[in-house]
Point group: C2
Chain length 137, copies 2
Amino acid sequence: MKRFILATHAYMSKGIKSSLDLILGKQDNVSVYCAYTEEEPFFKPLIVKEVEDHPEDEFVIMTDLFGGSVNNELLELTAKENVHLVTGTNLILAMSILLTCPASDDVADTIRGCIEEARTGIVYCNDMEIDSDLDEL
Amino acid sequence: MKRFILATHAYMSKGIKSSLDLILGKQDNVSVYCAYTEEEPFFKPLIVKEVEDHPEDEFVIMTDLFGGSVNNELLELTAKENVHLVTGTNLILAMSILLTCPASDDVADTIRGCIEEARTGIVYCNDMEIDSDLDEL
């Protein structure tokens, strides 16, 4: 099976999970790690354990910041064939990954598609043409 | 002055704020709105009030999802000259905006640069060359 992990500085991961639960319905296959908080000052061994406890499963780990310490700590896990690591997570990326990866036979390629979608979804709305449909909002 | 607002479905906004506080230090000029939660079922009037209470200030509103209801509800605020609306927020975008917009004379253009940075920061780490530096992690 596919398993998903959100790991970020502080509570961003928990917050994303709450948004996913609201929009997609409760997600049972998503683990959340809030690094450097009182509850989880040492998140890395917990994630390594979760991965090692399920060697037959495929993991997609989503983190917050390229070059940030949470992502840096987890980079070595990409040496494992069953672990994918994506950083720069926004809600579009997390949603797309949760919606498409579970049924994917090629998770790596699916993730690349999700990243394109997530990048396109970062938009400065003032630059958009506001059409008359907005009057109805 | 510049004011910043994070508005998302559920608690993603609060989570991002906690990550920003951890990485950048406590951010006093960032308001957080957790839409559709028990505390804030009707977030839009609260944001409109915050904007209208400070007509002399410049706002950057960051939301979660292009086409999502939180962003849709706020789109009409882009008609105001002192409001910028960005969606697809990840931690890189929020950090870049908070670090560069306060001193910017052209916030619109600064935001466009932050968006490029945020898009580039969404990375599938398995596709990166892992070099020997990682042995030290």
